[in-house]
């Protein structure tokens, strides 16, 4: 689990998954989207509490690997200011067969989104801004990407 203030390089990440014993590779990328709940988004900030984001991210990856045996599994999450289209989170998995890679990648991103101490502040086109509640938050329940 890597938290970085620099732009994520998906090609460099991907190189770490390559393995001649693997026939399948699944990647998930979360991009900064120009709309959220009907509002136009201009940019956003991620705030990350490093020590626990890293340890909880490692735990998520270990749990996904235990349930879906894959050969490589990695996750990188941005912090700081991001513009539209920027890569916010990258998950990559490789395995001999494709079933495990799809399932592990899905489990990692689903858990990363609800368990890691990472917060997102959206800046809207109308000049307003606000912290986004998590997708399982009961008070403001709505789905994110």
């Amino acid at each position: 689990m890597v938290i970085t203030a620099d732009a994520i390089d998906p090609v460099a990440c991907y190189a770490q998954l390559q393995d001649h014993s693997c026939g399948a590779c699944v990647t998930f990328e979360g991009w900064v989207r120009n709309h959220q709940d009907g509002r136009e988004v201009r940019s956003l900030e991620y705030e990350v509490y490093h020590p626990l984001a890293v340890s909880e991210g490692e735990r998520v990856i270990a749990e996904a690997r235990a349930r879906h045996p894959v050969t490589h599994a990695l996750c990188v999450h941005r912090e700081g200011h991001l513009e539209l289209g920027d890569l916010a989170v990258w998950v990559g998995v490789s395995s001999p067969h494709r079933d495990e890679s799809f399932l592990a990648a899905r489990m990692v991103i689903d858990q990363i989104k609800v368990r890691l101490p990472i917060w997102k502040k959206e800046h809207y086109l109308d000049g307003d801004s606000g912290w986004v509640n998590c997708e399982r938050c009961a008070n403001h329940g709505h789905a994110h990407s």
Partner: protein, 81 residues
């Protein structure tokens, strides 16, 4: 028994409270009871079902006990990804 704990606020909670960290004198036995006291101190501190707590850099539960000298991290609902 009176304890002193360090409370750290993040994201929306930091903005609601107006600072990132404070020392709090408390008799609260659990993290949840401490949160009630923090809400009394900072009426803008909203309770969310998805809020989380960590004690001394380990994820914890709201019913968990707090001890003198603990650092309690108060996390508003997370939104990674």
């Amino acid at each position: 028994m009176m304890k002193t704990v360090t409370v750290q606020y993040f994201a929306a909670y930091r903005e609601a409270v107006g600072h990132a960290e404070e020392q709090v004198e408390t008799t609260a036995a659990t993290a949840d009871a401490l949160f009630e006291q923090l809400q009394a101190m900072h009426p803008s501190l909203e309770r969310f079902e998805a809020m989380r707590v960590a004690i001394n850099d380990a994820m914890a539960g709201w019913p968990d006990a707090i001890a003198d000298g603990d650092t309690v991290l108060v996390f508003p609902p997370v939104a990674g990804g």
